[in-house]
């Protein structure tokens, strides 16, 4: 901040301090300077305390999850299924593979669609249609994930379903994709806007058409930023639990089909593992919580890293 006001009590009221034109600073002519200084001190302290308070829950959660979960995470945790909660020798392989299946499908659905929508908004969108698209994309960010789950259940699973697949990784992918879509769209839009117009004009000047300009000039220029947005969307999607209850249902065994059969996922396995009595199963649930947190964190950190490189390039 360029203008810092120093209000040390010793300086205040230390004799006449007039400006060359004879004016005195406002804070010295006012009689309530002392009160204002105290209010300032109090307020600044409150802000600092609030900052500390906000960090406390994070530390507590990290400590609890790490201390309970570390014991469960080992080689077996990633290579074995969990046939029953009682057994000691078991792991979350089914969940990890299931989450990977679901996320790959969701990424393939959400990112191309979101990117194309962003291209439309930045390069072509004009007038009312574009602002409607933008507005409803924003509104879509706020739709509860459980509602998306209900919708996919009604579309693909319930007895009145239009395209019946039953509980499956595909249904879960669709739900997660719908949750990710607006995040991808909006962040990609921001990134495409950052590409300078001069670059587009340069491309046109070389004789490129608009579509060619977008595909070969704008997209590569924005690529790191686009990756950042997509990774943040993936980070959001991977931790979702509620829509999976209604679409993937869960499985403790490895499931390799995509369009049929209930599929496992790490968040689902954590939820059912934490809700039963066997010590080994609860411990694995903490292990699952720890690995899920680490996955999300890695995605976020990677996204920031790529994003900061993008800023330098831009």
């Amino acid at each position: 901040m360029s203008a810092t006001s120093d209000l040390k009590p010793a300086e205040r009221g230390a004799g006449e301090r007039t400006t060359p034109t004879g004016h005195r600073p406002l804070r010295e002519t006012q009689g309530n300077a002392a009160r204002r200084a105290v209010a300032n001190r109090v307020a600044l302290t409150v802000l600092t305390v609030a900052m500390v308070v906000a960090v406390i829950p994070l530390v507590l959660i990290l400590f609890k999850v790490a201390s309970e979960g570390l014991a469960a995470v080992g080689w077996n945790f990633f290579t074995l299924d969990e046939p029953t909660y009682r057994v000691e020798e078991a792991g979350y392989r089914a969940g990890f593979v299931g989450t990977a299946y679901i996320m790959v499908g969701a990424i393939l659905m959400a990112i191309p669609l979101g990117l194309a929508t962003a291209i439309y908004l930045v390069e072509y969108g004009r007038g009312r249609l574009a602002s409607f698209v933008r507005f409803f994309t924003d509104v879509m960010t706020g739709i509860p994930s459980i509602f998306v789950g209900l919708f996919v259940y009604g579309l693909l699973i319930s007895s009145g379903a239009i395209f019946h697949t039953g509980f499956s990784a595909f249904a879960a992918s669709l739900a997660i994709a719908i949750i990710m879509l607006p995040i991808v769209t909006r962040s990609s839009e921001e990134m495409l806007k950052l590409v300078p117009d001069e670059w587009r004009n340069a491309s046109y000047a070389l004789g490129a058409s608009k579509s060619r300009t977008v595909l070969t000039t704008v997209l590569p220029a924005a690529a790191p930023g686009l990756a950042t947005g997509s990774m943040l969307a993936v980070a959001r999607g991977v931790g979702e639990t509620a829509p999976l209850i209604l679409t993937a249902l869960g499985s403790r065994y490895l499931v390799t089909t995509y369009f049929s059969d209930a599929q496992g996922a790490v968040p689902l396995q954590i939820h059912s593992g934490a809700m039963q009595p066997f010590e080994a199963g609860v411990e694995r649930a903490w292990g699952g919580a720890l690995s899920l947190f680490v996955i999300v964190l890695l995605l976020v950190v990677a996204a920031r890293f790529v994003g900061s490189r993008a800023n330098k390039l831009g």
């Binding site: 804070r27 929508t117 698209v133 706020g142 579309l155 719908i178 058409s209 943040l232 939820h271």
Partner: protein, 336 residues
């Protein structure tokens, strides 16, 4: 750094559009992205139509306002989709109430804290610490909600909240908001954990909003002799007001839709109570907890709750977006 504008990039000069292949490829690409752009309407419309169709017999059976205001929920066992055969009673009021109360608690707790943090990071923190600090707060957003639920159920409620509630009840139990008995899980427990969960998103947006406040205005105030606190309160806060309201509405929307953590902490009962220490249920949590064993008729009931929840979040979100939009686009509000 290039200049960022909200204006559309220019089109290529018309003279350059000549070759045949381009004449086909270019409009095709244009149509393709326009179509995908409109897919958001298709998805939204499909969601509304599909869930409403599934829920329709319940609205017929119960009446739409009867559904919203009824305070009994008994899932029926019928497998038919004719409302005349339904045996259940579907009243969503206790869950609408529970959703509102927990979300309000969350916002009341999270907003002041988020404001303080945003101001601290933006105005007080040493420049070098700003990024690390904001990343730290945003790390909270990286904790999946199931982890919040487990942490709340196994650690926070028994070790911190229950003793706190007991003290609160002994001290202010006469006041209707804090009437006993103390359970542990309940509206307040769920609301407190929700507050932690929505803190990062509100902080992030508020930070963006106050960051775009013109430096000139702040410097002008400092030049007039204002203290730091006065600059924050009288210069930054008023001009950021609508953005902050928008941020809290977005936080509210997040809180309203949160499912798993609330389900584990609200002490679910199908009733409602004025005391914050009592148990209830929220719309999202009810769907998740009754879904697994639901009969076909019960699933329709849950669809109806889903439609109500959708309308609820829709109102909050549209209001929030309109407010945030008024102060201009806020970058990064969609992130995390």
């Amino acid at each position: 750094m290039s200049v960022i504008t909200d204006q559309q990039p220019q089109d290529p000069p018309p003279g350059l559009r000549s070759r045949t292949r381009r004449r086909v490829a270019d409009p095709a690409f244009r149509w393709f992205v326009t179509l995908t752009g409109t897919s958001v309407f298709i998805i939204l419309a499909a969601m509304v139509v599909r869930t409403t169709t599934e829920a329709w017999p319940i609205f017929q059976h119960q009446g739409f306002f009867g559904f919203l205001t009824g305070d009994r929920w008994v899932s029926g066992g019928s497998r038919s989709d004719d409302p005349a055969d339904f045996t259940g009673v579907y009243g969503a009021w206790p869950f609408i109430y529970g959703t509102m109360v927990t979300a309000l608690i969350a916002i009341v707790l999270a907003l002041p804290l988020a404001l303080c943090i945003a101001f601290y990071i933006n105005q007080l923190a040493p420049r070098r610490l700003r990024k690390p600090l904001s990343y730290t707060v945003e790390m909270l957003a990286a904790v999946p909600s199931i982890v919040f639920g487990m942490w709340g159920l196994f650690w926070l409620v028994p070790n911190v909240l229950r003793p706190f509630f007991t003290w609160l009840e002994s001290w202010a139990g006469g006041f209707f908001l804090f009437e006993g008995p103390v359970f542990g899980p309940g509206y307040l427990a769920a609301g407190i954990v929700l507050a932690i969960m929505i803190l990062p998103i509100i902080t992030a947006i508020v930070r963006e909003v106050i960051a775009v406040n013109p430096l000139d205005q702040q410097n002008a105030a400092y030049a007039l002799g204002a203290t730091r606190f006065e600059v924050m309160r009288k210069v930054i806060l008023p001009s950021s007001f609508s953005g902050i309201v928008g941020a809290s509405m977005l936080g509210l929307g997040r809180a309203v839709g949160e499912t798993i953590a609330v389900m584990m902490l609200i002490g679910s009962t199908k009733s409602w109570d004025s005391s914050l220490l009592q148990r209830g249920d929220s719309m999202a949590a009810l769907i998740a907890s009754l879904f697994k064993e639901a009969t076909p008729e019960g699933v329709r009931g849950l669809m109806a709750i889903g439609v109500a929840l959708f309308l609820f979040t829709m109102v909050i979100n549209v209001a929030a977006r309109l407010l945030v939009w008024r102060i201009g686009r806020v970058a990064g509000d969609a992130a995390v």
